[in-house]
């Protein structure tokens, strides 16, 4: 009986060894891919970093207001973040490629899906980034215009503009990534519509006289009211 156990064991060991020997090259391939990938990802990170430095990406993101968000979240700077992101994505990609070599069927499909997902993720991040940039710019423009035109509560206007644009951009980004697509779109529609309706009602009822005056001035080319300033010519 002892011999049987030994021979079964030996056979099992042999099979294991055989199986192992069969799979070993593939594992080695994966390891090699991982190493190569690491090197490639590192190089890529360095290249991306220099490109971002060149286009003053930090500055841009500061303008976008993204930097402030990142510091608040105790995250590293935008350039750093992006470089690390690129590094990890690249390395992961290489590893996955290697894993594909292992030939595990179900995994391949998932890996393929992952690679297909990447561009959309990237697009969404871009939308978010430029959207933030635009929001900051436009909200500041609105603020300055309102201040110079002596509108009441210019900051309210500025913040409203910024909020609306951010909501819009977020919706677009989520839709791009495919996260709760319909929900987001509908929610955005409702929110946006509500804001507009609210503004319309507010303006319509509360600002009735103001609207009237505005139209009169524009259409009838100015009757001057008593308190009109005698503004000096600056030049």
């Amino acid at each position: 009986m002892w011999e049987m156990i030994v021979s079964e064991l030996t056979q099992a060991m042999q099979e294991l060894a055989r199986g192992f020997a069969h799979i070993l090259p593939r594992i080695i391939v994966v390891v090699i891919m991982a190493l190569v990938g690491w090197v490639a990802a590192y190089l890529l990170k360095v290249i991306v970093r220099s490109i971002l430095r060149l286009i003053k990406f930090d500055k841009l993101s500061e303008n976008a207001g993204a930097s402030q968000l990142l510091t608040k979240a105790a995250l590293p700077s935008a350039t750093d973040l992006l470089c690390r992101f690129v590094f990890w994505v690249a390395w992961l990609g290489f590893i996955l490629l290697g894993v594909q070599a292992l030939g595990i069927v179900g995994l391949q499909e998932q890996i393929a899906k992952f690679f297909l997902f990447l561009p959309r993720l990237f697009a969404a991040l871009l939308i978010l980034f430029f959207g933030l940039l635009g929001a900051t710019f436009l909200s500041r423009a609105a603020l300055l215009a309102a201040v110079n035109a002596n509108f009441p509560s210019p900051r309210l206007l500025s913040v409203s503009v910024r909020t609306i644009i951010i909501i819009f951009v977020l919706s677009m980004a989520f839709e791009e990534v495919g996260v709760a697509e319909q929900t987001v779109v509908v929610a955005f529609g409702i929110a946006f519509g509500a804001i507009m309706l609210g503004l319309a009602i507010a303006f319509g009822t509360g600002g009735k006289e103001l609207a009237q005056q505005f139209l009169e001035r524009k259409v009838l080319h100015g009757r001057k009211d008593e308190a009109k300033e005698d503004e000096l010519s600056p030049l």
Partner: protein, 422 residues
């Protein structure tokens, strides 16, 4: 690769017909049918009266007018057919028009006029704005004669103005241009001026005609080009400039044209202005410029209110532009009541210089920087009006001189913050 010329074939054909001229008068327009007719008639009369034997042409650079402005300018021509002019004309007077773009850009308009002047080898050119409704034939002669006689390369006007007219000019443009470039030019932004063909050609060749310069205020650029290029600048006293009513909404566009152009000129010309200290007077023919003192109804209160509102609402924007002490000081005076409110010359100079440095570094969009300066300027205007409410012409001139000296005195501060070190 051959560059696309910005002169149309048709315009070039007209220039070929005109041939060499001695005098060229450029009129840049955009929908100015209400004002340009009498101006062009005055130009015609001035040429016939003071330059009857000289070959002359009027060039209209139009930015896509839809109200018949170009036709009004063309009607000033005197050709073989009987002209409308009552004055006898010894020779033909050409008046040609070209549409340089479908939307106005004053830099491109000036460039068109300069190109025409160079191709026609004009000895002297004048540029008359279509808003220059007060121009007379004597003004035209006073501007053109020194350039034509080769006494000066750039002839700028001076006027007798109301002491409260042109506050942006007296409190920012004049003192700052003077401090930067070392010349006491009263009207660096002029509605009418003249220059020699030599300066025109140089300016045309050297200037980098980018998108930005195409739109920005070209009037001040020519002034700056002649300062930096060592050309002879002269001033000539024209006469009284009547007070023109403007709306408050005009301030920001005006600032864009003038202050924006001034600030953007500082970067490329750093080597020129960084070395200059003090300022030299500019030779002036005719009387020195002076102020008139008729009473003028002015709403000063609104100025101060807009200043305070601006300081409050734009704090986030100012943080990117101004230094902490300056901003704090502004916030402090914004809280003062009307009686004790005072936007001192020193603080104003600091403000302007910090804005200039921020503009240079593009800390935020440059156009936003200019817009942000507007409410602060209003505060300064309030102080200026208050201080000079009962002032005589001499005392007003003294105050302005004092401000100029302040600008000159604090120039090292500007140099310090220019490239960093804030």
């Amino acid at each position: 690769m051959a560059q696309e010329s910005f002169l149309t074939d048709d315009f070039l054909g007209q220039l070929i017909s005109v041939g060499e001229v001695d005098i060229l008068v450029g009129v840049p327009t955009h929908n100015n049918a209400k004002t340009v007719g009498p101006i062009v008639e005055t130009i015609q009369a001035g040429i016939l009266k003071f330059f009857p034997r000289e070959r002359a042409a009027i060039i209209n650079a139009d930015g896509g007018s839809r109200d018949g402005t170009p036709q009004l300018v063309e009607s000033a021509a005197i050709g073989d057919a009987q002209s409308r002019s009552r004055q006898y004309a010894l020779r033909t007077l050409r008046s040609i028009t070209t549409e340089y773009a479908s939307s106005p850009a004053s830099g491109t308009a000036l460039r068109t006029i300069l190109a025409a002047a160079e191709l026609l080898r004009a000895k002297a050119c004048a540029v008359i704005s279509p808003e220059s409704t007060q121009i007379t034939t004597d003004w035209l002669a006073a501007l053109l004669r020194p350039a034509y006689a080769d006494t000066f390369d750039l002839v700028l006007p001076t006027y007798r103005r109301h002491k409260f007219d042109g506050v942006l000019l007296t409190n920012l443009l004049y003192p700052m241009t003077r401090a930067l470039y070392g010349l006491k030019i009263r009207e660096p932004y002029a509605l009418e001026y003249a220059f020699s063909g030599r300066l025109g050609s140089q300016f045309l060749a050297q200037n980098a005609w980018s998108e930005e310069t195409a739109r920005a205020g070209s009037e001040i650029q020519l002034t700056l080009a002649s300062v930096t290029g060592d050309f002879r600048i002269g001033q000539t006293f024209l006469g009284t400039k009547k007070h023109v009513e403007r709306r408050s909404a005009d301030l920001v566009p005006a600032m864009r044209q003038t202050v924006g152009a001034l600030f953007s000129s500082m970067g490329p010309n750093f080597s020129v202005w960084s070395g200059k200290t003090g300022s030299q007077p500019v030779p002036t023919t005719g009387t020195e410029q002076e102020f008139s003192l008729e009473p003028l109804r002015v709403n000063r209160k609104r100025l101060r209110e807009m200043f305070s509102a601006g300081v409050a609402e734009l704090a986030s924007v100012f943080q990117s532009i101004l230094s902490a002490p300056t901003l704090a000081e502004l916030q402090r005076i914004a809280g003062l009541d009307e009686a004790s409110f005072c936007y001192s010359g020193e603080l104003w100079v600091k403000t302007v210089y910090e804005f200039a440095a921020a503009y240079h570094k593009s800390v935020i969009s440059r156009d936003h920087i200019i817009q942000a300066l507007a409410p602060l300027f209003r505060g300064r205007a309030f102080t200026f009006l208050t201080e000079n409410r009962n002032g005589t012409a001499a005392s007003v001139e003294n105050n302005i001189e004092g401000l100029c000296v302040e600008f000159e005195r604090m120039k090292p501060y500007l140099l310090k913050i220019w490239n960093g070190g804030e």
